[in-house]
């Protein structure tokens, strides 16, 4: 059985695409072969910067011949029908066979598909794969129409067996498949002939090409750690960088270089980022001090001077890079010592956050107000939280963050420390963006928590106020991540937040911001529901209250005054509508802020469901708890959900749901039929059976336990008490006919059912649970 060797040789393939491309080549070619009837024993694919290689072993020499029998029309069928059948089968009338069947004489066709040689099939499959290859980005070159990741230069396609090797005949866009390839671009550029995979791999190695990416990565890591170890240092591990560098070289040569003394005092993260992002260097650390002292670079060749020229060049480039970084660092520190971080943050008045939500400076003012409000709840000093909020984004204007955006936050911490901030403020500068990913640590220090929450809540309420919510897979402002961040921070802290009231004020502020953008007025209603217009587009604040007259709104107050004039929380609520400044015509009607907040809360509940589902709590259990009061307190909500989830996992709990549903159904049907609500007045004196009386007693006992437990938020006790009702409820339904003939007895029993449902519903909305 022959083996197949394919090499697609091109100009340099981006490192990040190589592994995937090799895998795609293996998958697409082998699937194509199998589909055409060519099975194989094994296959493997490899990649280097200049080649994708596939080896397939134990391929069938030709596809098997197949015979298909097809049943046609009756022999006496109309001529047209028979002609159609012949066309479909590709046969003549004489080649058909007639057979007697229960339906009379019927025509049968035997269609033989002759097997085809592997080389023919391979050529077809490979051409199709090349033309439709799923590169993330592909290009054309020269005058051709073929697309490849970079210009494709040659194709090696060889079938080999004991008898020898045979080139698969294939020509695409002027490239004919052959049996040659080239070695390393500089160290062994000549083309050479190969006879099969083993010969290919061996010759490549002699031509300074290591075919396997994993082998190159191992070589790099091994040499790098050895060289670092020899000088008492260690390489900072970076798997992503290792994979990338292994995709940049065919013949890795590891070189360790020095970092100029001038730069050793830069923050290690700055050194590391600059070296990695710009130069793809590994950082080498002194394990005793934690300082980055050397770098590792990986060259693609050996040289007569053992890499001395290459290393000197790399050191020089790095020095220029770090001179830039040091220049930024020194400039930033100079600015901070002159004007402080708050001075540094000043230019954020020039930076637009979002055109409907104002500048970064306005956003920071909102975050500050919010952080101050949240601080006491999470155990932080309001002044410290406000201070941190004011400076947390100052580093966005620093030269260092302009150059290395990924250092935002971290530089904020360094700069806050340099500016003499203390008491958790620098830490908050770094941590207020956290958590970024689902596995990221959440901040726990009180000041950090206050600012991190304020930051996310401002983002969420802002985009909700301007109706820019995530849809489907689109979430350009990462709002899902922000909501999950809030959820995780809340769960991780002991603080209790009631989100509804916490969201209301920021929503109003953000609506106000939007009104400013549109130069429209915002409708505010006072305590008597009297409408007042506020026009935020200019901030001269000598305006007076003006009742709505249908004319152009005239009251002009900056938001800060607005909130004192309209004692927040008690009455003023913004929105309703935006009115055009000129003619007072309504241009956009918005839901009132309370509606926006409810909507945002529902989004949180959705995120929470996803989050808790991963912890094994079912959607419907959470729904049953969301339906209860206090659902904007996530801690309370989850406590209730966990207790409910636990009790539902018990046999009593599960059966109680059945009992509850039965009671609820009978009750509802009776209420519908009678047009009466049975909600009150069940009396044990009308009880006729022991089961009934026992249920009365059980309900009294449960209620006595549930009520205080609920008040104390001891849901476990409340749920357990509820579960004790299972046996008496089951016994009741066993022994008693609810719809008794005696109307008094019937009414009493229905009222009893009502008591069951009321007690259960006081714990959670069990109607949401599928039983």
């Amino acid at each position: 059985m022959p083996d197949l060797l394919i090499e697609l040789f091109s100009e340099e393939i981006p490192a990040r695409m190589q592994t995937r491309a090799a895998e795609d080549l293996r998958k697409l070619v082998t699937e194509g072969l199998v589909e055409a009837g060519l099975t194989y024993a094994s296959a493997a694919a490899f990649s280097t910067p200049r080649r994708l290689t596939l080896t397939v072993e134990g391929l069938l020499a030709q596809s098997p011949t197949t015979v298909e029998e097809r049943k046609g029309p009756r022999a006496d069928a109309p001529e047209k029908a028979i002609e159609g059948f012949l066309r479909g089968a590709g046969l003549t009338r004489a080649e058909l066979e007639e057979r007697d069947t229960p339906k009379g004489r019927v025509l049968f066709a035997r269609i033989t598909k002759t097997g085809r040689p592997a080389s023919q099939i391979v050529a077809e499959v490979l051409e199709r794969v090349i033309r439709n290859f799923p590169w993330p980005k592909s290009m054309r070159w020269g005058e051709g129409a073929l697309r490849w990741v970079r210009p494709l230069q040659s194709i090696l396609c060889l079938l080999s067996d004991e008898a020898g090797a045979e080139v698969v005949p294939l020509t695409m866009e002027g490239i004919s498949a052959g049996d040659t390839t080239a070695g390393h671009r500089f160290m062994a550029p000549d083309r050479f002939t190969v006879t099969g995979f083993d010969d290919y791999a061996a010759k490549l190695k002699r031509a300074f090409v290591v075919l396997e990416a994993a082998e190159r990565a191992d070589m790099i890591w091994h040499d790098a750690t050895n060289q670092a170890f020899a000088t008492g240092l260690e390489v900072v591990e970076d798997k992503g960088l290792l994979a990338e560098v292994a995709g940049l070289v065919e013949w890795p040569v590891v070189l360790m270089g020095r970092i100029g003394d001038d730069f050793l005092d830069l923050p290690p993260e700055v050194l590391q980022t600059s070296m990695k992002e710009h130069q793809k260097f590994f950082s080498v650390r002194n394990p005793k001090t934690g300082r980055i002292e050397r770098f590792i670079t990986v060259a693609n060749r050996e040289t007569a001077d053992n890499g001395a020229t290459i290393l000197a060049g790399n050191e020089k480039v790095l020095a220029a890079r770090l001179a830039d970084a040091k220049f930024f660092w020194d400039n930033d520190l100079r600015m901070i010592s002159a004007v402080g971080l708050e001075g540094m943050a000043k230019s954020l008045t020039q930076v637009t956050f979002h055109n409907k939500l104002g500048t970064q400076a306005e956003r920071i003012a909102r975050i500050e107000a919010l952080a101050r409000e949240i601080a006491p709840i999470v155990g932080a000093k309001p002044d410290l939280a406000a201070e941190a909020a004011r400076i947390a984004k100052a580093d966005l204007t620093s030269e260092m963050v302009y150059e290395f955006p990924e250092l935002q936050g971290l530089m904020g911490r360094y700069y806050a420390e340099a500016a003499g901030h203390d008491d958790g403020v620098p830490q908050a500068c770094e941590e207020h963006y956290a958590p970024l990913g689902p596995s990221d640590d959440v901040p726990t220090a009180p000041v950090s928590v206050a600012v991190a929450l304020a930051d996310k809540i401002d983002t969420l309420t802002g985009f909700w106020a301007i109706d820019e919510k995530p849809t489907g897979s689109k979430d350009p402002f990462a709002l899902r991540r922000a909501a999950l961040g809030v959820i995780r921070i809340v769960f991780n802290s002991s603080a209790r937040l009631t989100l509804f009231s916490l969201f209301l004020e920021p929503v109003r502020r953000n609506l106000y911001e939007q009104a400013k953008h549109y130069k429209f007025a915002v409708l505010i209603k006072d305590e008597n529901n009297k409408a007042i217009w506020v026009s935020p587009w200019t901030e001269q604040s000598d305006g007076k209250r003006d009742e709505i007259t249908g004319e152009a709104p005239r009251v002009i107050w900056p938001y800060t005054e607005l909130s004192t004039k309209f004692d927040r929380g008690e009455y003023a609520y913004a929105a309703g509508a935006f009115f055009n400044q000129k003619d007072g015509k309504e241009v956009e009607t918005l839901p009132p802020s309370s509606k926006i907040v409810s909507d945002l809360l529902a989004f949180f509940h959705d995120r929470l469901k996803t989050y808790l589902r991963d912890q094994g709590i079912r959607h419907e259990v959470i729904d049953a708890c969301i339906a209860m009061p206090g659902n904007d307190d996530l801690t309370l909500l989850v406590k209730r959900a966990r207790a409910l989830s636990d009790v539902l996992a018990t046999e009593d709990g599960e059966n109680l749901i059945q009992g509850f549903k039965r009671a609820n159904n009978i009750l509802r049907q009776a209420q519908e039929a009678d047009g009466v609500e049975y909600s009150y007045g069940a009396d044990v004196k009308f009880a006729e059976t022991d089961a009934e009386r026992a249920l009365f007693a059980a309900l009294d006992a449960a209620e006595a336990e549930i009520q205080p437990a609920m008040k104390a938020e001891d849901f476990t006790t409340a749920m357990a008490a509820m579960a004790t009702l299972r046996a008496p409820i089951d016994a009741f339904f066993e022994a008693v006919q609810v719809n008794a003939d005696n109307p008094t007895i019937r009414r009493n029993r229905l009222n009893l059912l009502s008591r069951i449902t009321q007690i259960c519903l006081s714990v959670a909305d069990l109607t949401k649970i599928d039983g």
């Binding site: 054309r140 070159w141 970079r150 230069q153 290393l311 060049g313």
Partner: protein, 313 residues
Amino acid sequence: MPDDVQAPKSFQEIILRLQTYWAGKGCAVLQPYDMEVGAGTFHPATTLRSLGTQPWAAAYVQPSRRPTDGRYGENPNRLQHYYQYQVLIKPSPPDLQELYLGSLEAIGVDMALHDIRFVEDDWESPTLGAWGLGWEVWCDGMEVSQFTYFQQVGGHDCHPVSGELTYGLERLAMYILGVDHVMDMPFNDPQTPIALSYGDIFKQTEEEYARWNFDTADTSVLLRHFDEAEAHCREILDAPHRDPKTGKRIVMVHPAYDQCIKASHLFNLLDARGVISVTERQAYIGRVRTLAKHCADAFVQTRAGGWQPESAA
């Protein structure tokens, strides 16, 4: 270093060698475009000539201006005025990488001692509505050139595809000459009686322009000129193709494109003056791109852009 290649002695020698090399490879050696541009790509010999079906091979030095990069001549590597060497060949030849490596050898890079790498870098010019795929070329970790296969220019797909090479001349020359500060680099042969360094020629102008770019350029004038250039570009393109005086069909692409280049440079100046906000930035870039697209549309309506009289409607 191969025996037959002597080390170059000066900045200008490196330029001369590149000129000679690419002339020898069949390129028309052009002169710089006589307008302020941000990069060699803006030269009509690249932007416009990469459009349409006509073959093209050109090489030239292009003085380029990036007002925001000015450092008063103090930064060893950054300049607001610098030189790019640009090569454009259409269709891209199959051995373009080898041709390029040959040019490095010609200017004194010994392939046996240095580490040359092609590192992924997709090129995009939002102002020109252009993009391509290619690499930045690294020599011992330093980016010395940009290598791009143009896929689209001015919103038009490139058929055939042009190969573009851009050398950052100062950086490359500093590396080859072993100079650490650009101002110390010998411009002509240091052994000549009147030896001139890069600083002798450009230190003062870097200071002057840095001050003007950052602090004194009159932004209201710049803003007005931007609007005027934009309007003028459109007017030129809107003129009927038939010239009433000569009766000839004359599509005035290049004069219109000059206005597009002007607008682009004015935008760069305004940017350096810090008067363009983040949100406005996108809008300005979009306005220049629209002009570039109109020019590209017009160019393919000319003979140089592949238009044939009989194919005209």
